[in-house]
Structure formats: structure tokens, C-alpha cells
Amino acid sequence: MKKLLMTGVAFATLAGATFTTAPVALAEDTMFVPSLSYRTGPFASGGTPLANGFADYFNMLNARDGGIGGVKIVVEECETGYNAQKGVECYESTKGKGALVYNPYSTGITLQLIPKAPVDKIPVLSMGYGLSAAAIGEKFPWTFTYPTSYWSQLSSILKYIDANGGLKGKKVGFIYLDVGYGKEPIPLLEQLAKDQGFEVAKFPVGVKEMQNQGSQWLNVRKERPDYMIMWGWGAMNATAVKEAAKIKYPLDQFIGNWWAGAHADLRSVGEAGKGYKAANFSGVGTDFPALQDVIKHVVDKGGSQVASKDLVGDVLYNRGLFNSVLIAEGIRAAQEKTGKKVITGADLRDGFELFDLSEARLKELGLEGFTAPIKGSCKDHEGAGSVFIQQWDGKDWVKISDPIAPDTAVVRPLLEAAAEKYLSDKPEWKTQTCS
């Protein structure tokens, strides 16, 4: 009996281990898009809706249109647990299957994959995250941060603050997850503080302290910043908003970045989080024809992993879906350029520099008003996309601003300097020349 039980447990373990990385039989008329997801671990609350939206859009295209240009897309998930080492393992185990692009959903994993991309000729699309300097297309031909980078986003948030109370002479608190992701915008923040005459107070939150932020918020009370900006993720976000409310910090002066403004973050906070703001670049809700098609062709037919239909349209679900829209547009542009139906990672790289997600195109896709237009280019791998500000009304996110363009004049030279610095100790690095 004991042996039987142990055998059962062994099989169950094996089945669990292969659940997310089941091998995919690729037919010749399919294209393979790996999904580096994290449905487990401390950041699963964000990773799950992202992975759902990402897969569901491609599945909708397969069901509704027969894929892209008549070629179906095969999405295969590999569980990273938001761990850089596991992310690299996922990369290595899937790249040989003809991977078109990697979307790491982690700055730590992105930093590991950036040097691998030109070697394996598979582009990295770190959509609005990762290494900000990768926005400089001449220096990073294989990495894209469409629709914007962390640095551009920070400049948009600061522009919003400046327009709604002013920055000069004020103190800005910056609370961040104390990992590569959270620290990424600090050089720009410090530079802009000097240039624009405001003070910065930093409040790092270690991964171990994500749900134990009492000290950080006591320090906020001590420092009394006029505004708070958050670069948080996972369980950190809800805890931060609760702690801010607890010390009676005015929540309408507390702005999160686009990874700190999801339904998963605020739903549990509820009324206590009323007034908190966050940046976003992808639409909220299901009031878009493309989302309705996803519901009709995928969710209603049981083809989605989403736990409840109500979660379709959530901030991070739509963010994952938008990631797939960018890839799909890149694939279409690459198919058009090469005349091939089944393209390679190198073709998609070119497609990412050619696509034009104009307002008219967004309307065609059933995503009118979902995001600001983005145009791919050789020089600009971030698309200079805008962000809008949304506010939590106690139950849902409400869009409260028009798209805010980044302060490109200020940010671009700093990004170029950062790109030069990144390459300074990499003499073998291949750049590209853009006309």
C-alpha cells in the first residue's frame, strides 16, 4: 500500500512538474511564442492575469482568424516563479523550438536575456519594463521596450505631478521593491531632481518586507514627502496602500507605476484605497470589440485559464493581452516585409521596427482608445508611448487623465548616455546604424 501511495505521489509530482512545460508538437504551419509566466510564488498575483491575457489573445486570433496570415500561433508557458535563474532555464529549454520572441515579465530575467538575444537571433520584448537604455535602437538592435520605458514613464508621472500641484521645491518620496526592477528608475529620478529642483526621499522595500512595511511608512511619516511614487510589484502594492491609509497619507498624492496599479492590488484594499493613483498604458475593462472576441471565442468556450469571466478586462489581463497585440503586429509587419508566412525571430525583429499601431489600426483591431498610438522604428525601441493616470474609486480603476507623453527631450539624452555606459565594457557588442 505504501509503495502504491509513493508511486502515486511520484506520478503526481511528475505531472505537476510537466504541467506548465508540456512539449508542444510544432507543425510546419505554426509559429511558436514562449510565455515566461509565473503562476506560482510571491508574485503570482501579477503573473497569473498577465499570462492569461497573453495566451487568450493569440488563442482568439487562432480561433477567429486561423492565426496570423493563416499561420496559427502556439503559445507554450514556462514557469519562472519571477526567478532570474529559472527564467534563463526556460529560455534555454524553449529557444530550440523556433521561439519568435521572449517576453520575460521580469527585469531580472530581461537583463539576463539581453546579451543572449543577438547571439540566438531571438528578440526580447520587455513591454514597458526591463533595461530603460534598451530604448536606444542603435545600441540594442534585439531588445524592445514598447510602448515605453521605465525612465520615460517616470518622466510622464513627474509631468503629471508638476501639472497638478508643481514639483519645484517639493519633496518626492520614492518607495520601491529593492530589486533590479525597483532600482531601475533611480538614476533618472536623481538627475531630474537636480534639474527640476525637487528633493527625493527613497524608501526601499526588501522582498522579505513586502508584507511588513511598517518601518518604511513610519519613515514616510517622518520625512513628510509632498508626493509619493511607488515602483512596487506583487504583494508589496496592496500592503503599501494599506499602510499609507493607516498613517493617513493623502492617497491622491500617492502614484504607482504601471506595475502598481492593478485590480489584484487594490481589490483587497477596497474603500480604504480610494484616491490612490497609478500610471497605465493599456485599456481597462472589456468594452472593446477585441476583448469581446476573446470572451466569445476563448473564454466562453472554456479555452482560457482565467479563474472567472469577471477577471477578463482587469488591468493586468489587458496588459498581457496588449503584449500579444504588439507581437501580432510585429509578426504581420514581418510577414509583409519578407513575403513569408512562417517567419523567424530575426524577421520579427525587423517587424518590430516596422509596425505602425496608429489610431486607425487600433480601430481595425477592435482596440480603439485602448492605448496611445505606437510606431516601431530602428532608432526608437520604446515607441515614445504615453501613459495615462488612473485612480481607484474604491471599487474600480477610473481613467482620470489624457495620455501624457514622456519628456523625451530630457530622457532621451540620458538614455543614450546609459546605453553608452552599458556597452562601454562590451567591445564585441554589435550595434546597428539607423537611417
Binding site: R39, A44, Q211, S215, L218, A235, R267
Partner: protein, 318 residues
């Protein structure tokens, strides 16, 4: 000289110039310390009975809280969900004894430790399979836990006392007292201490090792549930909560692995120490010192009292 002033004088000037804020820091340290004590208590109970550091204690906190919230979300009334969760923790204790511990009687402690690591990963996988990775709000109000806060105005400033924090402190005190009485004044408590000293000797005098292990893992499960409720109410119930349990390590080093009063004192030392250091000295080191400062305190204690404040001094005769 500036450095000396910033280290030796300025923090105390700050405390004196904003006494209301100093009181707030002390209260926060007290609440954090109490909660750390509660987490550490779960480790102490199992260490006392089996001499093993239960690596799975953190995930037991998450598992207990998720079971409670999951049952409630499935339509079970809050209090019935609480009772059923207590039942689930008993079932877990029984299964752990039956499937894991029973086969490892009298094995090296490191084997038992490895078994708890295995249990930890099993519970993570099983929990994620059953409950999903989404964070869930704790049903604090439904369980009758107080919400809101009271603001005091001492020294012309303000001190905010969260009612939930008061409830956490009260619950921790009740639980710690009840467990201290149970393990020090009852027959089972004495049997537990005998098992901790020597498995075989305890068996030879008729103590049921299996029964003791079920009881002690169940008690650790109850402590995990209480910790999960209080900590979940402060933030959310998610798998990230298991990391908070790591805070118990320095508490145990200070208090000793076998002492319930040690867990309490150790928790308070860490709670007060890290808050005061983070707020008044942390800026000198760029903030974010809370994560490692607890271990510095623990290392200092290790230098002078390797067995912890209340731990048993082990003398090996050659």
C-alpha cells in the same frame, strides 16, 4: 565628528524633539515584536517536540489562512470556516505524523529537517493548485476583528493606534499564555519535553510519540492560523506571506529554540530593535536596514549566548 554626532547624538535629539513620533515607533515595534513572537512560537513548539527546525512553518501560515479564506469564499459562514480550518490543521498534523514523521523516528535530526523542506514545497504546490496564486483579503471583519483606528494627541502631536494591532497583541498574549500553561502544567506538556530530550527513552516509559507529534504539529498549526489571520488582515493572504516567517530565525537565535518565554522576549527585542534602528539610524546607511538588522542583533547574541537567552545550555561530556 559629524559621523559621531549623527550616530550618538542626533537620533536622541530626534526622539526628544518629536516624542509623539517616538511613541508611534515604540508602538509599531511592540506590535511587530508580538507578531514575530507568534511566528517564532510555531517553530519553538515543533523544535521542542522533535528537535527539528520546521522549515514548513511559513507555508503552514499561508496554508491555514488560505483555507480559511477559501472556505469563506466558497460560501461557508466565517465562524464555521474557522472551525473547519482548525479541523484542516488537525488533519494536516495527523497526515504529517502518519506519512512523514512516523517513518523517521530516531533518525538524524537533519533527516527530519530535510523532510520539513519537502513538506514545505509540497504545501506550496498543493496550496497553489487548490487556492490559486491570487492574493485574497482576510475576512477580518467577518470574524469580528476590529477595524479603524484611534488617534491620541500626546505632546501636541499624534499617535495612531490601529484597532487591529491591539487585537493582534491581545490574541498573541492569550495564545502564548495558553500554550505556556499547556506545555508547562499539563501531563502532555511534560511528555512533550520528554520526547524532545530522547525519543527512545520517552517510548520506553510509555509515552506515545505519535500522539505527541500530532498534538504538537496541531498546536503549531493553530499558531500558524492565528499568525495568518493577523498578518493577512494587515496586508493580504498570499504566498508572499511565507517569507515573513523568516523573521522568526533571528527571534529564535535570541530567544533560544526551546523556550516559549524566549520566543516572546526575542520577538520583542527584534521588533523594538529593528524599528528604532531603521527610523533613527537607518538613514545613515541609506535606509532599508530592517531586513538585515535583525540578523545583526542575533549575531551579537550568538557571540555571548550561543544557546540564546533562554535556550538550554548543552554540555557534552567527553
Amino acid at each position: 565628528m559629524d559621523i559621531l554626532y549623527n550616530i550618538l547624538i542626533d537620533p536622541f535629539v530626534q526622539m526628544g524633539s518629536a516624542p509623539d513620533f517616538f511613541l508611534q515607533v515604540l508602538w509599531s515595534g511592540f506590535v511587530a515584536g508580538t507578531l514575530y513572537s507568534l511566528i517564532a512560537l510555531g517553530f519553538v513548539l515543533i523544535f521542542k517536540a522533535s528537535g527539528v527546525f520546521n522549515f514548513a512553518q511559513g507555508i503552514m501560515v499561508v496554508f491555514a489562512a488560505l483555507t480559511l479564506v477559501g472556505l469563506y469564499q466558497a460560501g461557508v459562514p466565517a465562524w464555521l470556516a474557522l472551525i473547519l480550518t482548525i479541523g484542516a490543521m488537525f488533519a494536516l498534523a495527523w497526515l504529517v505524523e502518519r506519512i512523514v514523521l512516523r517513518n523517521l523516528v530516531n533518525q538524524e535530526e537533519i533527516i527530519l529537517f530535510m523532510a520539513t523542506i519537502g513538506l514545505n514545497y509540497f504545501l506550496i504546490g498543493f496550496g497553489e493548485y487548490v487556492f490559486g496564486g491570487e492574493p485574497k483579503p482576510m475576512i477580518a471583519a467577518e470574524l469580528g476583528l476590529p477595524t479603524g483606528s484611534t488617534t491620541f494627541e500626546p505632546f501636541g502631536g499624534i499617535v495612531i493606534i490601529e484597532h487591529l494591532d491591539v487585537a493582534a497583541v491581545v490574541m498573541a498574549i492569550i495564545l502564548v499564555t495558553a500554550l505556556a500553561i499547556f506545555f508547562n502544567k499539563t501531563r502532555i506538556g511534560r511528555a512533550l519535553r520528554a520526547v524532545a530530550d530522547d525519543h527512545q527513552a520517552a517510548l520506553s516509559v510509555g509515552i506515545s510519540l505519535n500522539q505527541i507529534w500530532v498534538i504538537v504539529w496541531f498546536a503549531a498549526g493553530i499558531v500558524a492560523l492565528a499568525t495568518g489571520i493577523m498578518w493577512g488582515a494587515k496586508s493580504d493572504v498570499s504566498f508572499a506571506l511565507q517569507i515573513v516567517a523568516l523573521k522568526a530565525l533571528p527571534v529564535l537565535i535570541i530567544g533560544g529554540f526551546t523556550s516559549i518565554p524566549g520566543a516572546i522576549i526575542g520577538g520583542l527585542v527584534i521588533g523594538f530593535g529593528e524599528k528604532l534602528f531603521e527610523i533613527y539610524w537607518g538613514g545613515l546607511l541609506g535606509s532599508g536596514v530592517e531586513g538585515w538588522f535583525a540578523y545583526v542583533i542575533a549575531l551579537i547574541f550568538l557571540l555571548f549566548r550561543p544557546q540564546g537567552l533562554f535556550g538550554e545550555k548543552i554540555i557534552e561530556r567527553i
